[in-house]
């Protein structure tokens, strides 16, 4: 086992004066400076009684402080739960209880979070604190690096356990085909509390590259100008984000994106029309797509420049990983079935729960449906599980349903993912109301959700119905509701 923070230590030793991070305020920090800060944070954790092997939550926006806290926590041999800064207090409290967390660290206490115990505020005077001695960094072996929470079928998030070995494999795998080097510069608008963005930071600190932080995809002309000015070479994003850029600023994208070496998309399927548009606008840029889940990160990939006849697919298995469709004893070819994955990137399971039902003879059951063609290219066709995917952010319909049912004006309800042009899917609620339905009730219910759920989980639309279709066993017929929306 090699702690992924050791990759950073090796780079900081080799390239101490090289810029590692550029903050949202354009302040630049070298590898040596970030090492100093991370060591101070590791010492700060020790002074607060956080020991190697402890689990801690980091709830930060995309900032330099966050990455210092993250590195410092790994150097202290802690297991990190990265929680989106915009999460609801109930989500953070759930994660904290689910994983028996020692402490949660945040730069700022937002309203509603003050009652959650064991909080540690990120020290504003970090620079004046004593650094942890180099010899103590990562001195205790803790194989578990991260526990990332993802939506569960029961409506409760599940903690996906990811080891340092899992993450090291992902770094090696991406490096083997994406050729990321120390002179690469990546601009990231992805939340670094999710694995897509965070895994890229691991790769960059391993190879000595530079990461430019942005809080989110906003003010697109400024971002595109920054890509040109800073000679950015890599720009990862979601299909919805690229659609927004292409719909509104295709010319600017073509003009400022010329020197990009890579564009990397992940998280959700992308329409062929937009893939072609990117290939045509930036013919010299390598355009990659990953497919994977938090449980099995970067399991397949494709470079669309090399396979213009495979634009509907998400590519072939990444080095070391295996993907089949259907039954392990008799995998399907050119037929739809459940996508199964195995390989060194695969999680060992979920924190604190029996995970056996998610595995089949050592293969992880993704709950995704796909077709494997005769050449080994996978096409994602839908989902077996009832999860909704909003441009890469996943949620369980049951979570939204349980919130809707708390409202006294809801007699019954069901939630589905409806096709959406921009985000792939959108949350739509079907509600059997108590009393008169109407626009006012729709807004009241969506506001009810706004006060209890993260923004992406709020239903975009609520439709009133007389009855929710269910099977004899009482299971909601979501497919029939979804079909009703499509028709």
């Amino acid at each position: 086992m090699r702690n992924i923070a050791e990759n950073f230590l090796a780079t900081a030793d080799r390239l101490p004066d090289k810029t590692f991070l550029v903050g949202t305020d354009n302040r630049r920090f070298t590898y040596g400076e970030i090492l100093g800060r991370a060591r101070r944070f590791a010492g700060f954790l020790e002074s607060h009684g956080v020991d190697p092997g402890d689990r801690i939550i980091l709830s930060f926006p995309n900032t330099v402080d966050y990455l210092c806290a993250y590195l410092g926590s790994l150097m202290r041999s802690c297991t990190v739960m990265a929680v989106d800064f915009r999460s609801r207090p109930s989500h953070l409290a759930y994660v904290k209880n689910n994983c028996a967390v020692k402490a949660w660290v945040t730069p700022k206490v937002l309203p509603g979070f003050d009652g959650i115990p064991d909080r540690i505020l990120f020290p504003p005077d970090l620079e004046s604190l004593p650094p942890m001695p180099m010899g103590k960094l990562g001195a205790v072996a803790n194989p578990l690096a991260l526990i990332m929470h993802t939506s569960g079928a029961t409506g409760f998030p599940k903690g996906v356990c990811l080891s340092h070995d899992n993450l090291q494999h992902t770094i090696r795998s991406i490096t083997s085909w994406a050729d990321i080097k120390e002179d690469d510069r990546e601009l990231t608008t992805l939340s670094l509390t999710h694995l897509f963005g965070l895994a890229h930071v691991h790769i960059y600190w391993t190879h000595g590259g530079t990461v430019y932080l942005e809080e989110k995809l906003q003010d697109i002309p400024r971002l595109l100008q920054k890509i040109a000015d800073e000679k950015i070479t890599s720009f990862p994003g979601t299909p919805g984000g690229f659609k927004m850029i292409l719909d509104q600023f295709a010319d600017l994208f073509a003009k400022h994106g010329r020197q990009l070496k890579y564009i990397i998309v992940n998280s959700a399927p992308m329409a062929e029309e937009y893939i072609t548009k990117i290939l045509d606008l930036l013919p010299d840029t390598r355009f990659y797509m990953y497919y994977g889940l938090t449980e099995a990160s970067r399991s397949s990939y494709i470079c669309y420049n090399d396979h213009r006849d495979k634009l509907r697919t998400v590519g072939c298995p990444t080095p070391g990983s295996e993907i089949i469709v259907g039954d392990p004893s008799n995998p399907l070819v050119n037929e739809v079935g459940e996508v199964l994955i195995r390989g060194p990137q695969l999680t060992r399971g979920y924190w604190g729960m029996d995970s056996s039902e998610f595995f089949l003879d050592g293969w992880f059951r993704t709950g995704d449906l796909g077709i494997m063609d005769g050449e080994g290219f996978l096409t994602w066709t839908g989902r077996l599980k009832e999860q909704i995917n909003i441009d890469g952010l996943k949620l369980s319909p049951m979570e939204v349903e349980s919130v809707l049912m708390e409202n006294p004006r809801v007699r019954d309800c069901a939630v589905v993912g409806a096709p959406d042009e921009l985000t792939g899917e959108a949350v739509v609620g079907f509600v059997v109301p108590r009393g008169e339905p109407g626009k006012d009730l729709e807004i009241e219910l969506r506001r009810h959700c706004r006060n209890r759920l993260e923004v992406y989980k709020i239903p975009k639309k609520i439709l009133f119905v007389d009855e929710i279709p269910r099977t004899e066993a009482g299971k909601t017929k979501r497919v029939s509701l979804r079909d009703r929306l499509i028709s």
Binding site: Q218, D219, I220, P221, M244, I443, R446, R450, V455, I458
Partner: protein, 81 residues
């Protein structure tokens, strides 16, 4: 509230789920957590549908407040209080 103010308020209520006391010219993404880049696209599209005036992409990304939406529409002859 004038008819146009009411129309804009209804439109923003639907997209941003704001309460009436948040319908203030100086309010924007910092005050309204549902106002993200996706909401911005939805606002521009709803404004075009309800007021019949399309925003340019540059105008869309410059939207920093409810007052900015009104200013863009005022420049096209729409009257607000």
């Amino acid at each position: 509230m004038s008819p146009n103010d009411r129309l804009l308020w209804r439109l923003l209520e639907d997209i941003l789920l704001i309460e009436e006391d948040q319908f203030r010219d100086e309010y924007g993404p910092d005050e309204i957590e549902t106002w993200d880049s996706l909401a911005m696209v939805n606002i521009a599209s709803a404004v075009e549908k309800e007021f019949g005036h399309a925003m340019t992409p540059e105008e869309m990304v410059s939207l920093g407040s409810i007052g900015d939406i009104k200013s863009i529409l005022r420049a096209r002859g729409v009257r607000f209080e």
